[in-house]
Symmetry: C2
Subunit: 272 residues, 2 copies
């Protein structure tokens, strides 16, 4: 799944990525079933690895999910992160900033939500909104965007220095796939609660968004906090990629269950 | 499972409750398997009901877990609440208060963590510590405890007035069962990270704790925020009771999926 990673400093283009890609899996029912079975295995591995993370309180994992409307941010959380103990996992969803949040720098509200050691933190949208929607709508200049890229990189370095592994996923769907999903939201009364007419406005700026994503990803894909461009037209492949990278990141922390507290002689302890 | 509820104003005694109770289920492997199968069904119901809660943002659910050390608070969260979308579920674990928390009233840190509308909030320990450990150790007088009971009842009424359903579970294990579980923590290197020598100190005051629980539960089991005394010697029965009451509470909210935003004519919408 490493193939979807954007390596720091590499020259790349979104055009080289295919939102329909399913890697080594066929696009038929067999491929789908095989991918789903693999994802299920990964999710139960994740559950075990999370206990080790939680017992040690030395490391943290931050997962950033970005993508156009309907790209599956909520659904990825539901499918990949259900099964992980909610006690060790915190999801922060970032919407339009409040008055109080606007009165601070753009990283202020983000910083408050970063996972403590022992935890998995999931950002449903993130500080990257401040170089995406703001950029596309012309609320910030390209100069400000470049400053923010630097500020983001410094901020993420601060987090990794403190033991946080950062994974950033751009859930990449095609404009055609978004059309289908939006139409689905219109048609299915059970899905209408997710409708936001603003989504149609953003859709009109699709090419600008793709350019903004490309720019942001290029500027902020670092060795320690890489971006993955996740082909997300097929939900089952999207889930597999995110689950695979998450398990990989947790495994690389190389954690065993934490020992007991220091200074306790467990051989001599007696419960009366 | 209603049988485990302590009704407001009823005269009751912890002595009438048996931590080994397994309700209608046998204590053999068959009973255990049947209870586990039922719990599994309840957990997937919970997942579906939680989406309705989340889509409406009109109601909230607060689950309070209390119990002696090793009574299974963490494990209940892991087994019953895994499977619920972590995006709609927040766990707050209350430890010994920080300096800042101590400088406020005892409900201050609690209030900050109550679930917003749309969410399930789980308290692993809670404001009840301030009428339990504090009382048993003589840090507050019985007069202060009684004032706090009133304050707790008023506070919980405020929450229910705002649309929050409150469920409070006392995970009731026997002193003998705690001995086994503590010995297990000593023996099993994988479990030692949970060891806290303070647990042995609290264990010495077992009868005082039971008295404090009895008193607190009697004073704060209200019609809108009832306590359940959950027989917790058998983990599978404990999980079943908590899952069953949670599903019941969500069902009683009588929610369907939220409709789309007002003023949107879905028949006329077109995605281009």
């Amino acid at each position: 799944m490493k193939r979807h990673r954007i390596d720091s400093g590499s020259s790349w283009s979104l055009a080289d990525h295919d939102p329909d890609n399913t890697g080594d899996f066929g696009t038929d029912e067999d491929g789908k079933a095989a991918a789903k079975a693999k994802t299920e295995k990964l999710v139960s591995q994740m559950d075990r690895l999370q206990v080790r993370l939680f017992s040690n309180r030395t490391r943290a994992l931050l997962i950033v999910l970005q993508g156009m409307d309907t790209s599956g941010k909520d659904s990825t959380i539901r499918h990949v992160m259900s099964g992980v103990n909610p006690q060790g996992c915190r999801v922060a969803a970032f919407k339009a900033p409040t008055t109080d949040e606007r009165a601070h720098d753009f990283l202020w509200r983000i910083h408050r939500e970063v996972p403590a050691k022992g935890y998995i933190g999931i950002f449903n949208r993130s500080h990257y909104e401040d170089v995406l929607i703001t950029r596309v709508n012309g609320w910030i200049s390209s100069k400000t965007a470049r400053r923010r890229f630097d500020q983001i990189n410094e901020f993420e370095e601060l987090l990794t220095d403190n033991g946080t592994t950062i994974l950033k996923f751009f859930l990449y769907i095609s404009k055609e796939e978004q059309k289908k999903r939006l139409e689905d939201r219109i048609r299915d009364p059970e899905k209408r609660w997710k409708w936001d007419s603003g989504d149609l406005e953003q859709r009109k700026r699709w090419p600008d968004y793709m350019k903004a994503f490309e720019e942001a990803i290029s500027a902020t894909s670092t060795r320690l906090a890489p971006w993955y461009v996740v082909p997300a037209n097929r939900k089952w492949y999207r889930n597999l990629v995110v689950a695979d990278r998450t398990v990989d990141a947790l495994e690389k922390m190389n954690l065993t269950m934490a020992p007991g507290p220091q200074g306790v002689d467990f051989k001599k302890l007696k419960v009366v």
